[in-house]
């Protein structure tokens, strides 16, 4: 009998595929370093080739714009890790900016207006979760529908008008800096750190990855798949609502059409940052770098007087290149 056991051990050892250590991790690190290198290279080139890039006002402007994209991109990544997608974030940004503006103009205190708007984001996320988990609709369809509908609600509430007349203190928050760093960037840090902890060091993070990798296996292992999906969409919609509030503060008015196309920016940031639309791959640092990279490309193109339409083409090309590399990695299996 012991001979059998020995044979068995030898046999399975011999048949084991060559084990490669943590390729996902290494690829992620490599990608992030590459992105960082690319970013520094871009900054250097722009600093050398334009007069305006390396100025305090331009850099802080870039940081503010990148911050807005970064926050929604982090939320989007939570959803993408579950192998879902949230197309509604741009519309949520627009609606949130309108709602917070209307509340503030109506005399509601800032803290209450912000809280109500964030709660609205939670509500939208819960609805997405409900439609996906309970009604079993595909995430793409659900969030495409809310993308349209939420824009409609925003336009209906404002009659297409711009909401102006918010308290000055609300607007100054996003224009001011703390320790030389724009406040908006501090918000990113305040969002990214808890998101990082949740994603990489908490039970809920482990469950998000498991659901994105194999829903059935996760369910059979006792993971509450429904609750995990609710969680991802609530995070995404709430962060989008936060971005809406910050956007209203930044431009000083509430406009229902704010954030048009930002869903694509957020997905692009997430994917450029290494998230896989097939699920179970993604980080917090990735979308942050992705958002800064995309904003830099836009900013640089403006400074270089490149036709703005080129920016879209460059973004598209970048997505294809990055996803192609992801595909290569997958194929090597």
């Amino acid at each position: 009998m012991s001979e059998i056991a020995n044979n068995a051990g030898a046999n399975s050892a011999g048949l084991a595929a060559p084990v490669r250590r943590r390729r996902g991790f290494r690829f992620g690190l490599l990608l992030n370093l590459t992105l960082l290198g690319l970013l520094l290279l871009l900054w250097l080139l722009l600093a050398l080739s334009t007069d305006n890039f390396a100025t305090y006002s331009n850099i802080s402007n870039l940081a503010r714009q990148a911050s807005l994209f970064a926050i929604i991109a982090v939320g989007q990544t939570f959803v993408i890790i579950t192998a879902g997608i949230d197309l509604s974030v741009g519309a949520v940004v627009g609606l949130a900016s309108t709602v917070v503006a209307m509340l503030l103009v109506g005399g509601v205190p800032v803290w209450a207006a912000v809280a109500v708007t964030l709660l609205m984001g939670v509500g939208i996320g819960l609805f997405h979760g409900f439609a996906i988990v309970r009604l079993r609709l595909p995430p793409f369809i659900v969030t495409l529908a809310t993308l349209t509908a939420l824009r409609g609600i925003g336009l209906l509430m404002t009659g297409g008008q711009t909401i102006a007349g918010m308290p000055a203190a609300f607007g100054s928050f996003s224009r001011e800096s703390f320790l030389g760093v724009p406040n908006l960037f501090w918000v990113v840090i305040a969002v990214a750190i808890p998101c990082y902890v949740v994603l990489h060091h908490s039970r809920w993070g482990r469950h998000l990855y498991a659901v994105g990798s194999n829903q059935e296996a996760a369910r059979l292992s006792g993971v509450n798949v429904g609750r995990t999906i609710y969680f991802a969409y609530v995070v995404s919609a709430t962060l989008a609502a936060l971005t809406g509030i910050l956007t209203a503060s930044r431009i000083g008015v509430g406009v229902a059409t704010t954030g048009d196309g930002w869903e694509l920016q957020s997905i692009a940031s997430s994917v450029i940052g290494g998230a896989s639309l097939f699920g179970a791959v993604g980080s917090v640092i990735g979308p942050l770098l992705g958002a800064v990279l995309l904003t830099t490309i836009n900013n640089g193109a403006n400074l270089l007087n490149v036709n703005p339409f080129w920016q879209r083409i460059i973004t598209g090309a970048l997505i294809i290149v990055i996803v192609y590399f992801d595909q290569l990695r997958r194929r090597r299996r």
Binding site: A8, G9, R203, R206
Partner: protein, 499 residues
């Protein structure tokens, strides 16, 4: 049946054919001649090299060495179209047709009849129907393929190959999803093709089919050809010994373990797909559930596990009446389900081994939400050592492990959780013999530790040898129960089929 002795000229011959994948041999110096007009069976355990051989014969893989002769002449045979040009075709276990198209459209796929650039749908449907009628398959050529059963789809695939004037036809586990009647229809087709002079390679796990159909049988083991024998001069025992180099008794390892208190008691459980099932599982006991596919075994255990609803009946766990509404309820009680398909249901393939092992216990590793990295690594490592999982690290991706080691992860995660009742649904499908032995030893280990096991298997020798108590399912009901090996396998098969 035509003569078995006549050494007809080989239609296709492999000489010293090798196939290597990055250094390891999937096939090693195979010498094998398929005689014109014979039915030649190929058997072997999973991983023995059968599918690699099919892929070389159909041009899907390019061989790494050796020569292939077709009617005595050397051929390249390195692309699928080269194989098809010679008249080589295959019917695969998984149907590789288009489910949204009609039966006729599938049969003419890639070879459509058209006039003036437009499809001649009516002509194709009529022709396909004529072929189906002629070979006696009761299938409507105008039906959409997805509306047929898997078995019927398999028959369509066979009819498609037959229609195309194939001279060398490979059947790869064609009966895996077929009902008995469909199997008979397929066999009739195979015999008829045989009568028309088509050379047939028949690959199957079901040895009894080989004795029914084939004239010769070749056995592969670990990528090498062990023997080619005349079917008339061999028997099942010899083939099994050729296949695994061990006797069945050595593989189906079982210890005598005293029966403990009752863990699970089910009374009159009914639900969609099964009705009025009563059984009990004690500590230290393997309760086997045998039946044909669709007999209700899986539906029954899924109801016990909270995955399906039940309409009547009671479940008691450790003497206490329990209400199991969802998976988590069952898991919390200490019931674990090791599902049939480890790729689709058991594992998160692109996550780390440790992540998979700890999946049921993150609520324990992270009581307040945050995961303690060291405790996580230790828990994973303990299971890797315990289960002897061959992996470089608990951080390796699960996808990089071999099938057997992946299966051990699926079992191992429940050991961490501390389950007491294990439901194994087809636990040894697709694993090699060495791993099989290890899985059965794991059974013994679980039983010694006081666990109980429900074993679902379609492989009769497995349930027959390993079960202390065996329940035979037929059409959703338990039609017979037996104590350990008190009746022979043939009786059980008859009960399961319902004759």
């Amino acid at each position: 049946m035509p003569d078995t002795a006549g050494p007809a000229m080989p239609l296709l011959e492999l000489r010293q054919v090798d196939k290597r994948f990055t250094g390891t041999y999937a096939l090693k110096r195979i010498d094998l001649a398929f005689r014109a007009g014979e039915i030649h069976a190929v058997v072997g355990e999973n991983g023995a090299g059968k599918s690699t051989m099919i892929k070389i014969l159909t041009g899907a893989y390019r061989r790494s060495g050796g020569t292939i002769l077709w009617e005595g002449r050397e051929v390249a045979l390195d692309t699928p179209s080269a194989a098809r040009a010679l008249g080589i075709d295959a019917v695969h276990q998984e149907v590789v047709l288009c489910p949204h198209l009609t039966v006729a459209a599938n049969m003419f796929l890639g070879d459509e009849r058209s006039g003036y650039g437009l499809l001649r749908e009516r002509e194709m449907t009529a022709r396909a129907q004529a072929v189906l009628d002629d070979i006696g398959f009761p299938i409507d050529a105008a039906a959409v393929l997805a509306d047929l059963t898997i078995g019927q789809q398999q028959l369509v695939a066979a009819a498609r190959a037959a229609m195309r004037g194939t001279r060398f036809l490979i059947f790869d586990e064609p009966t895996a999803y077929l009902t008995r009647q469909e199997t008979h229809q397929l066999f009739a087709l195979i015999r008829r093709l045989h009568g028309e002079g088509v050379t047939i390679v028949y690959i199957s796990h079901r040895l009894e089919e080989i004795f029914e159909l084939a004239q010769r049988v070749s056995v592969l083991r670990d990528g090498s050809l062990v023997a080619t024998r005349a079917v008339a001069e061999t028997d099942e025992r010899q083939l099994i010994r050729d296949m695994v180099a061990r006797s069945i008794e050595e593989i189906h390892y079982k210890e005598e373990i005293p029966k403990g208190p009752a863990l699970l008691e089910v009374e009159g459980l009914s639900g969609p797909g099964f009705s009025d099932v009563s059984l009990s599982v004690h500590a230290g006991e393997v309760v086997g559930l045998y039946g044909l596919v669709g007999a209700g075994r899986s539906e029954f255990v899924q109801a016990v596990f909270g995955r399906r609803r039940r309409t009547a009946g009671r479940i008691r766990f450790k003497g206490r009446e329990v209400e199991i509404r969802r998976e988590r309820d069952a898991i919390d009680l200490g019931i674990a389900l090791v599902p049939e398909s480890r790729r689709d249901q058991g594992l998160c393939l692109n996550l780390e081994v440790g992540h998979n092992l700890n999946l049921p216990i993150f609520h324990r590793l992270a009581p307040r939400g945050l995961v303690d990295g060291r405790a996580e690594a230790e828990a994973a490592q303990r299971q890797i050592d315990d289960m002897r999982i061959v992996t470089q690290s608990h951080r390796a991706e699960a996808a990089t492990l071999s099938g057997g080691n992946q299966q051990k992860i699926v079992i191992g995660k429940w050991l961490s959780h501390g389950a007491e009742l294990f439901i194994f649904d087809e636990p040894t499908v697709g694993v090699d013999v060495g791993t099989k032995v290890e899985i059965y030893r794991t059974f013994a280990k679980l039983l010694r530790a006081g666990a109980g096991i429900i074993l679902i298997s379609s492989y009769l020798p497995e349930v027959h040898d390993l079960s202390d108590e065996l329940h035979v399912f037929h059409r959703g009901r338990v039609v017979a129960r037996h104590r350990s090996r008190e009746v022979d396998a043939e009786t059980i098969l008859k009960e399961a089929i319902g004759v």
